[in-house]
């Protein structure tokens, strides 16, 4: 119902009788399977057989979130408990789980708008019947489920329910298995998400999942330690890889890791200065190579570095002990680098945009108005922006007003 990137046929195709019958057969098969699962769950058949039925349905339709929930209940209320002879109580019990037994009518193609629900709920399963399980079969079940998921995730990398279900499985492992065994599972996830990000280096589900896995591996209950160094290294690798410079996801992640990295390294002031210089070097070199001065990801990362100098709440990130003079010095230096850059790329709007922004920042930092030369420069750069970037004319109008009103003052 929400399709992306699939071409629409030029005209509506009339299906043959044969095709219609084939489609009808498929619909029947699908709905029969759905009914069968609901019936068996209503009868509380929490068995491997039903689990396999849900596998079949979910392979056909991984977006069917209710069936993922059915699968969770099969594991919690049936299979995990059966697989163990341990009797220590589970720490967490799912809150308000209910098994919905509403039959989906498959007899007549009635209008769903008029279908009334006859939802009747069976009694709640007794949470105390849950069992934390032992390493034996519970582990096998979780492993098998993780393996079952992988090919589906490759086919549907943007399906929220899949990532979500996978995390749930791993959290169950935390509850039911010993930390060393659980940790092994989480460690393998790092490899998995690495593979997913090789397939699509911008998949934000993948990046989110990676953060969660890393947090987990660093956590105390899995006897973890900080992974900030390897994660930082990972972003470096992605950025240096194919199309890496335009990978905003990787630059973003890098921006988030830096404060932690420097704190853990215990970097002193000189070290922080060096670090900032190196980051500026990296990004400016990137701008000069591979025609990248026009790619916006690089410019947003440049903006991040600059905000650590200009933005009062961001100082802590890299430049915690910089004095006002230090920051003014850096800003002045960057302005001259940007002006130099124009010599090779006078059609790059990002340079003009940055020049105006940081010229204004500088005057604010020095608590003064723009001087005459600065104002003239800004007006010139703005006129370039109006020509180079017509889409954002409204923004240039606003900037013009700001410059004319000399509002670039400390308020």
């Amino acid at each position: 119902m929400a399709s992306h990137g699939i071409a629409r046929p030029a005209a509506s195709v009339q299906r043959t009788e044969e095709q219609l019958q084939e489609e009808h057969r498929k619909i029947q098969e699908y709905r029969d399977l759905e009914d069968l699962i609901r019936t068996k769950v209503a009868e509380r058949q929490y068995t491997v057989e039903v689990l396999n039925l849900t596998s079949k349905l979910l392979k056909a339709n991984p977006e069917y979130y209710t069936i993922w929930n059915v699968r969770r209940r099969l594991l919690i209320y049936g299979l995990f408990s059966k697989s163990s002879d341990s009797s220590s109580p589970s720490k967490v019990s799912p809150s308000t789980s209910r098994i919905d037994t509403t039959p989906v009518s498959s007899t007549q193609p009635s209008d769903s708008v008029t279908t009334s629900s006859e939802a009747s709920n069976t009694a709640l399963p007794d949470p105390s019947s849950q069992n934390p399980g032992k390493n034996g079969t519970t582990l096998d079940l979780i492993k098998a489920d993780l393996e079952f998921l992988f090919p589906i995730m490759v086919g549907w990398p943007k399906c929220y329910w899949l990532w979500n279900y996978r995390l749930w499985l791993l959290q169950e492992a935390n509850k039911r298995l010993d930390p060393i065994t659980a940790r092994k599972l989480w460690t393998q996830e790092l490899t998995l998400v690495g593979k997913m990000l090789v397939r699509d280096s911008r998949n934000f589900h993948g990046w989110r999942y990676r953060r969660i896995v890393v947090d987990e591996l660093e956590s105390q209950h899995l006897q973890g330690t900080s992974m900030v160094e390897v994660e930082f290294e990972y972003t470096t690798k992605v950025i240096r890889g194919q199309d890496g410079l335009s990978n905003f996801s990787a630059w973003h992640r890098r921006s988030k890791l830096i404060p932690k990295l420097l704190n853990e390294r215990g970097t002193d002031d000189a070290g922080r200065r060096q670090f900032l210089d190196d980051e500026f070097d990296t990004i400016i070199t990137a701008m000069y190579t591979d025609a990248f001065p026009y790619a916006q990801s690089v410019w947003f990362y440049y903006q991040f570095l600059m905000t650590t100098l200009t933005d009062s709440v961001r100082h802590a990130t890299i430049t915690s002990n910089f004095t006002q003079e230090d920051r003014i010095g850096y800003l002045t230096r960057q302005l001259s680098i940007l002006k130099e850059m124009l010599e090779d790329a006078d059609d790059c709007k990002w340079i003009y945009d940055a020049l105006i922004e940081y010229t204004m920042s500088l005057s604010q930092m020095e608590q003064r108005q723009l001087d005459k030369d600065e104002t003239e420069d800004c007006k010139l750069w703005l006129s370039k922006l109006r020509v180079l970037d017509r889409l954002r004319g409204g923004r240039w109008d606003d900037l013009d007003k700001e410059l004319s009103g000399s509002r670039a003052l400390v308020q």
């Binding site: 699939i6 629900s117 934000f204 990801s297 991040f304 889409l391």
Partner: protein
């Protein structure tokens, strides 16, 4: 997103004749969506049925045809999706989830169906209160954010769905709105944008949900509007469409998320509205045909040719249809009802 009262925009369009919104085919396309039971796709998308109804109904309201779907059957269907816990699932027999609960409340608000909810709704306490309680119970009281359902996935999408549903029910006092605002603030990035959780990359869909939630909480003041406006305005690509993140392809659904976000922070004029309008109109399938055979062609009236796609020439669906039309409405396209960006 909802309707605002008042007259629609007027005034002539500066667009060429062949690029006009084909209102009647879109209405027919939406009306035809529920009569596709002979297509496997219809069954494979049951998990979207309730949002689909919301999207279709919103589109019809914007097109000025609010009665094109029958009211009583709409309410019957919505109520048939309710679970005993007060929440709503995507279709009858599907588990309750915040996203569908929000859609259900939005539909009931649109068709003035809270009376029916009061008399026929399920859940503890019944009526609106049961729905409000279902939503409120999903708030994480220590962080302020919301889980989507009993299984615990947290995301700023759910936070928005909750506040939106509760504000329509006039039950915001059931949750800790200040905590929710604090949580959103913790999701802010250096570029002014927001992600799904603290630390997550800025993403136009998530920005829309965060700004929507902040608008409902009347706390847009916490937003860095200059930085965010700049980032959002850079979503417009030379073809006129908008993308969701830097250096991704443009897509009609983002025309809504980005432009309504810009509207919420008062920066809609930072993108080129006429280029965006043109892009959305090109995603109507009938326009392709118009370009081939001229504006008098009868095929324009073929109901199957209604609907809007993600990009020109792609498959249409109700999701992109409503976001395309809502985007046009926001941009002041003539003949459409006004849309509320939240």
């Amino acid at each position: 997103m909802s309707l605002v009262s008042g007259p629609g925009h007027a005034g002539p369009s500066s667009l060429p004749d062949e690029l006009q919104l084909a209102i009647e085919p879109h209405v027919k396309y939406i009306q035809s969506l529920d009569s596709r039971r002979d297509e496997l796709e219809h069954w494979l998308t049951e998990h979207l049925r309730l949002n689909g109804l919301y999207w279709g109904l919103t589109a019809l309201h914007l097109l000025g045809r609010p009665d094109a779907l029958p009211r009583n059957e709409t309410i019957d269907f919505v109520l048939s999706c309710q679970s005993e816990n007060g929440g709503f699932g995507a279709a009858p027999g599907h588990d309750a989830h915040l996203l569908y609960t929000c859609s259900a409340v939005q539909i009931l608000a649109m068709v003035d169906g809270f009376g029916e909810l009061e008399s026929r709704g399920k859940g503890e306490g019944g009526g609106k209160l049961a729905v409000g309680k279902y939503i409120a119970n999903l708030q994480n009281r220590s962080t302020g954010t919301f889980a989507g359902d009993e299984w615990g996935e947290e995301d700023t999408r759910f936070l928005y769905a909750s506040l939106n549903g509760l504000s329509l029910l006039k039950m915001l006092d059931l949750v800790d709105v200040n905590r929710a605002v604090e949580y959103i603030v913790s999701c802010a990035n250096f570029d002014g944008g927001y992600g799904s959780t603290p630390g997550a990359e800025s993403h136009s869909g998530q920005i829309f949900t965060c700004l929507g939630a902040l608008s409902i909480a009347k706390r847009i003041d916490v937003v860095n509007v200059d930085k965010l406006g700049r980032w959002l305005s850079e979503r417009q690509v030379p073809a006129g469409g908008l993308n969701g993140r830097p250096e991704k392809l443009e897509d009609v659904c983002y025309s809504w998320w980005v432009s309504s976000s810009l509207a919420m922070i008062g920066k809609l004029h930072w993108i080129d509205g006429s280029k965006l309008t043109e892009f959305i109109l090109k995603c109507q399938v009938c326009v392709e045909i118009l370009q081939l055979v001229g504006s008098a062609d009868k095929k324009l009236q073929d109901p199957e040719r209604g609907g809007i796609a993600d990009r020109p020439g792609d498959m249409v669906d109700v999701f992109h249809t409503v976001f395309g039309i809502a985007g046009l409405s926001l941009l002041g396209y003539p003949g459409l009802e006004d849309v509320d960006p939240v």
